[in-house]
Symmetry: C2
Subunit: 260 residues, 2 copies
DNA sequence: CAGTGGTCTAGACCACACT
DNA sequence: GTGTGGTCTAGACCACTGC
């Protein structure tokens, strides 16, 4: 029995089906089904999903097969296994993985500085997406986007100037006030308030010289080179959900990358 | 039977033992044993290792346990599985993973540009390690190191200026001529000629302005910000084997990073 | 065809967390 | 103790490669 799921002779399985991609190993099909449930919000960030045995019964496969599916999702940081407790939906609010996507670290061994010390929202408004913004977010030119500009400081030194764009529809109701009063990772706010979980991201990094307005916002002397970091963050199903353009000071910090 | 390997009642196993770390799951112990064989050069890069069944017999465990050990090594890019053919020792000479550690890509969709078009060795000499070089390579200040400076060009545009330092002992006999005449990834040369395989690396990235000599080597106009990329590359057992300081032009290229 | 890695199963037992 | 994930085994069968 290696055709599809569920088998045609057992249509009573609790899982519907529909969109299952072609032929693939059983555990890949299970992985897709779990992914669908995650995307549909059946299990929310930080909640636990059913036990391996429960899922095995639900999908009518062995525990080992469910296990392999969960293994892959866990290695992609979509789920977190905790021995003796259960398997949980990953969240950016967890202390261990907070600011997972922020690769800027202090030169000194102050550890990860536990995220930015101070944050200031400079601007937050809705506008029509320009061509390049629309393309990055897979929208149509002219669709409404939310644009946010903010400055992050470490030890009272302005270090990051960030512009970010979010599609207007999923983030309806997001305001400067809401952003300012929230303490913790922005991506955690997105999860709890808008049901949007960022799963992975891509960054393009360059060295640039800031223009005058950028230099002033970061209170920089002239001729200070900065790291330009353009990020596109994706939710489930590789849907782009955020474009972020950051300028990083790198005189006391550096962008850290592990190559495997 | 979950104590150590091999069990005390079966000392006839073909594997010696000695340095096995404390208590750990069986598959972790197998992983360590395979790692030792890799490090000792029992199986060389691009060669195949014994089949899962052979290894299972050799270590007196089940195939599934060997499998899990190999899985982890494969996910760390130390081994490569090929269905129907066998499991192979990874190498930087493989087309698929050539220039795995070079994250600079062209802005245009010219794909990965297949590595640098031109390479020029500017300098190559042996000298005493300064304090910071020695620390990075876990040597003593004053130990001999090999220092190489080179320029990489894409489409005849000098794009990367790179200084790199290698510990003198393992790389005895490496000369500018040998480097110049070799076509292909430098890390592949290290494997075949010196038995040194780079397994992972860490990079610290900053934005800088080049000094006069650097600017001239890259034929840059004044005030061109560059990406400063400092890399420490490690062989098996997390031994640092190379320090590399690169300056990247980022007007037509960018440093690409995937965040998971 | 034989040999390799890849999938799937079923069952046993271990390690850990909660209560 | 009960329930969870983690390890280990043994055996069956599938998918791919090359002779």
């Amino acid at each position: 029995m290696n055709t599809s799921l569920p088998p045609t002779d057992a249509p009573a399985a609790a899982e519907s089906l529909a969109a299952i991609a072609a032929f693939s190993p059983l555990y890949q099909q299970i992985k897709s089904l779990i992914l669908q449930s995650l995307q549909a919000g059946e299990w929310k960030p930080s909640e636990s999903i059913p036990s391996e045995m429960d899922l095995a019964l639900r999908y009518r496969v062995s525990q080992g097969t469910v296990r392999k599916a969960i293994d892959e999702l866990a290695s992609g940081h979509l789920l977190i296994r905790k021995q003796g407790k259960g398997t949980f939906v990953a969240t950016h609010a967890e202390h261990q993985v907070q600011y997972r996507f922020l690769k800027l670290v202090a030169d000194q061994g102050d550890l990860n500085t536990e995220g930015p010390a101070q944050r200031e929202i400079v601007d937050c408004k809705r506008l029509r997406a320009s061509a390049d913004i629309a393309r990055a977010l897979a929208l149509r030119s002219g669709d409404t986007v939310l644009q946010v500009r903010r400055v992050l400081s470490f030890a009272n030194v302005p270090t990051i100037l960030e512009d970010l764009w979010l599609p207007g529809t999923p983030f309806k109701g997001l305001t400067a006030e809401r952003l300012a009063e929230y303490h913790g990772p922005m991506y955690a706010l997105f999860e709890t308030e808008f049901g949007v979980r960022m799963v992975r991201a891509e960054e393009k990094i360059r060295a640039v010289l800031p223009d005058k307005s950028q230099r002033e916002l970061l209170q920089l002397p002239p001729n200070t080179p900065l790291l330009s970091v353009e990020r596109i963050a994706y939710t489930y199903k590789d849907t782009p959900m955020e474009l972020r353009r950051g300028l990083y000071r790198t005189d006391k910090h550096h962008y850290h990358n592990d190559l495997n």
